[in-house]
């Protein structure tokens, strides 16, 4: 059974703390993504990675950084957590599309980490 796992289901941190969210996939997928999910806003892409040590900014990268040292692991880092980063964080992985193809591959999601910053 294919799986994307996230290190914590619930996390409570204080303003200014450095926060690490870990994601591991066992499907040998090249692509990995970090989203945050807020009511009424859907999922918004923070960062994504198409290969080890490669990263690209998504739509809302401010206040976040990422690390991809191994193919199966993609980490999201909040350098100095703030209350407006309280949210549900979802990690996903997918196979890469072929160059020029238009069909998006399925993204497989982890169960999410609900982060509260006090």
């Amino acid at each position: 059974d294919v799986k994307v796992t996230q290190s914590s289901r619930y996390l409570v941190k204080r303003t200014g703390e450095k926060v690490f969210l870990e994601c591991v996939q066992d499907m040998d997928h090249e692509n990995m993504f970090w989203y945050r999910q807020d009511p009424g806003l859907g999922l918004r892409l923070i960062y994504f990675s198409y290969d080890v040590k490669m990263k690209e900014k998504g739509d809302i990268p401010e206040g976040y950084s990422v690390s991809r040292e191994k193919k199966e692991r993609f980490s999201l880092i909040l350098e100095s957590a703030s209350t407006n980063q309280t949210s549900m964080y979802l990690c996903a992985s997918s196979k890469p599309g072929l160059a020029g193809r238009v069909i998006m591959n399925e993204q497989f999601f982890g169960p999410g980490t609900r982060l509260t910053v006090l």
Partner: protein, 113 residues
């Protein structure tokens, strides 16, 4: 900027009724996906549509991609309590050679037994 708007945001209906959820954008997408998310879980893919005007059926669920590939709809016939969940549309685009999904705002559906 939110590129994909879904309506309604919330929908609560009785078991056995029919419903339609809409996903609208001013942008063209190369493909469109629908995901369903249940409490405590990540979203799970239901369908991918690619061609303008395409219609796909998945048992009681019917998905349509607009002719101009800017909008989509999800129609559920004879809704069941198991259909309860958050429905998310997601448009696919190629961005500097990389593929990226833009998710909609979501429709939270509750089916009352």
């Amino acid at each position: 900027t939110q590129l994909l708007e879904q309506s309604p945001q919330f929908l609560s209906i009785q078991e056995g009724e029919n419903l339609t959820v809409y996903c609208n954008s001013s942008s063209v997408f190369s493909s469109l996906q629908w995901y369903r998310q249940e409490p405590g879980e990540g979203p799970v893919l239901l369908v991918t549509v690619v061609t303008g005007g395409e219609v796909k059926k998945l048992k009681r669920l019917t998905f349509q991609f607009g002719d101009a590939r800017k909008d989509s709809s999800l129609h559920i016939t004879a809704a069941q309590p198991g259909d309860t969940g958050l429905y998310l549309c997601a448009g696919g685009r190629w961005n500097f050679g990389n593929e990226k999904l833009t998710f909609g705002t979501g429709t939270r559906l509750t089916i009352i037994p």
